[in-house]
């Protein structure tokens, strides 16, 4: 149904997900994730967007009793990241995440960005400093913080903290970056900054972003997926979804008649 010349980075195949209380939050979700593209997940609150996103980095494994069925296959190595034999830590080394609310560690700006490197046993101070600088530049935060790298991250503004979290996720050169409503706690200017940032980041990696903001989805994403009650209702390139959706529900949601 979509452009086939772009290489696939990952795809979810017949993905079902059950929370520990037995609630099935995802129902047979099939969706491609194209390399160096931004895919937006939209849909009404509670439809399973965050649940789907958090399958990609196995965040659900942190809580006992959650269960996956089906798979998310990463390319080019064809690893099913949900397979029982695959270590969730390995998956998180390849796929990083930015959360809805900025969640910096109570450490310095530098330590926050360097933490992923620390976890990867990087000991070389030069390498770490270079990587931190590169990540902060990549997150468009460098100019604002270069003179105060040893300040506590909590002293930054909300928008700066969110960019810091992006830098932290970026410093480890992930293949895929997940964003769960990354701008919902930010003002329009900080939001614009982050959208611009995402458009630049896609040159390096693949992005999956959850958003409630239709304009944002239309502005930044290449592909859009509309979810409803745990199912993927419609998927396509963003222009098509926003101008000629095939399903009535999608159109109603996008135009604000429902949701």
């Amino acid at each position: 149904m979509v452009n086939t010349s772009t290489p696939l980075k990952a795809e979810s195949k017949d993905l079902n997900f059950f929370y520990a209380n037995g609630h099935q939050a995802l129902k047979s979700v099939n969706m491609p994730l194209y390399e160096n593209k931004i895919t937006a997940l939209i849909g009404p609150s509670g439809c399973g967007k965050s649940t789907f996103l958090r399958c990609f980095n196995r965040m659900h494994d942190l809580y006992p009793g959650n269960k996956y069925e089906g798979g998310i296959v990463m390319h080019p190595d064809n690893t099913n990241v949900l397979a029982a034999g695959v270590d969730p830590i390995e998956v998180r080394m390849r796929i990083s995440m930015v959360f809805q609310k900025p969640n910096p560690f109570p450490k310095t700006i530098f330590e926050n960005v360097a933490y992923g490197l620390h976890v990867r046993d990087e000991k070389n101070k030069r390498v770490i400093a270079d990587k931190v600088e590169e990540a902060l530049k990549g997150a468009a935060l460098w100019d604002e913080v270069k003179d105060r790298l040893n300040d506590l991250a909590f002293n930054l503004s909300g928008g700066q903290q969110q960019r810091l979290c992006i830098a932290r996720a970026l410093a480890t050169d992930p293949e895929i970056m997940l964003f769960d409503e990354p701008t919902s706690a930010l003002d329009p200017i900080a939001t614009a900054n982050i959208e611009e940032l995402m458009s630049e980041l896609k040159n390096k990696l693949t992005i999956l972003v959850v958003t409630h903001n239709m304009q944002q989805a239309a502005r930044v994403s290449d592909y859009t997926a509309y979810m409803y009650l745990g199912e993927l209702m419609e998927y396509g390139d963003t222009d098509t979804i926003f101008t000629r959706p095939t399903r009535r529900e999608t159109e109603d949601y996008i135009t604000g008649k429902f949701g």
């Binding site: 080394m93 990083s96 560690f105 933490y115 992923g116 976890v119 932290r168």
Partner: protein
């Protein structure tokens, strides 16, 4: 509260607004009376506790006043009340506190971290949980009996500083475990998830984040536990502390390499509350002055330790906002 009559009809007249305002103000005054009544009762309850302690403390200070001098701290106990001092008792207490600290902190923190982060949640961990809380309520003399059997006879450690330190360490272990767990539970899920999301293992999350951010709470628990331990008498008597000691244990620091010396661990000892008890049980009133002075010193020590705990927690929490 009454709706405006006129509101139902539509427009608000000035008269109806004023009338309604009067009624609202009367209601607020009525509600606020409860605040005043409770504030009074609460203050009274607080004062009852505080005043009792204060009276006791002032009483001790006034009785013991003649002995508040450096000589009291630098003299051994003696048959003459006027020249008897606390030297062996405070040195004993201090050395025992070192052993207590060194046992209770690593064991308590490790147990707390394990229970909170690693232990599977099932009936067995629930059972352990209940027992840890129960341990905090076990009378301290029971710990003394346990220590007598285990440390003194079982492990043959004798009636030593080591035995006393281990016993008190055991005694405050539940406090350290509980405060460790509470401090850990205060760490927001978002911070943990952030650490896991960059690929950290459980141990990296625990050592880089969980333990670091709960230091303030753990330290508070440790100091509060120690301030309880320093006044404990019953278990120490049970394991056989002497009541009259006119010598010091060997110094822990020596002037030849390796500069540390562990003979003091097996030395016999006395502690502040036992010294106080000893003086108190003498018929000669002059010794009661010494006892009062010792009591005042123990209370001051406890207050000082709790004050330090509050200060340290504040200092550590200052850099952590969530």
């Amino acid at each position: 509260m009454a709706l405006h009559d006129s509101q139902i009809a539509g427009a608000l007249t000035k008269a109806s607004v004023l009338e309604n305002l009067g009624a609202v103000r009367a209601m607020i005054r009525r509600h606020k009376r409860n605040d005043i009544v409770f504030a009074g009762i609460g203050l009274l309850a607080l004062m009852l506790g505080l005043l009792t302690l204060l009276t006791l403390f002032i009483d001790l200070v006034m009785d013991g006043y003649p002995r508040f001098n450096l000589q009291f701290l630098s003299e051994f106990p003696s048959r003459r009340a006027g020249s008897a001092g606390l030297l062996s008792a405070w040195v004993g207490s201090a050395l025992i506190m070192i052993v207590t600290f060194l046992t209770a902190v690593p064991v308590g923190v490790a147990a707390g971290v394990y229970l909170e982060e690693y232990a599977p949640k099932n009936w067995f961990s629930d059972l352990i949980e209940i027992n840890v809380s129960n341990l905090a309520g076990v009378p301290s003399i029971i710990y003394g009996l346990l220590a007598l059997g285990l440390f003194v006879y079982g492990l043959d450690l004798g009636q030593s500083i080591l035995t006393a330190g281990l016993t008190l360490g055991l005694l405050i272990l539940p406090i350290v475990i509980v405060s460790t767990r509470e401090a850990i539970r205060g760490i927001p899920v978002a911070i943990r998830e952030a650490a896991y999301a960059v690929g950290a293992t459980k141990w990296q999350v625990v050592s880089d984040h969980v333990v670091k951010y709960s230091q303030g709470g753990i330290l508070t628990g440790v100091i509060i536990g120690m301030s309880r331990a320093i006044g404990e008498t019953a278990p120490i008597i049970t394991i056989g502390a002497l009541t009259f000691i006119a010598f010091l244990p060997p110094s822990p620091i020596s002037d030849v390499a390796p500069y540390l010396n562990f003979e003091w661990l097996s030395s016999s000892f006395t502690v502040l509350p036992i010294q106080m008890f000893n003086w108190l049980s003498r018929p000669d009133h002059a010794f009661h002055i010494n006892a009062a002075a010792t009591g005042a010193i123990i209370i001051m020590l406890t207050l000082l330790m709790n004050g330090t705990a509050i200060y340290l927690r504040y200092q550590i929490r200052k850099n952590i906002k969530w």
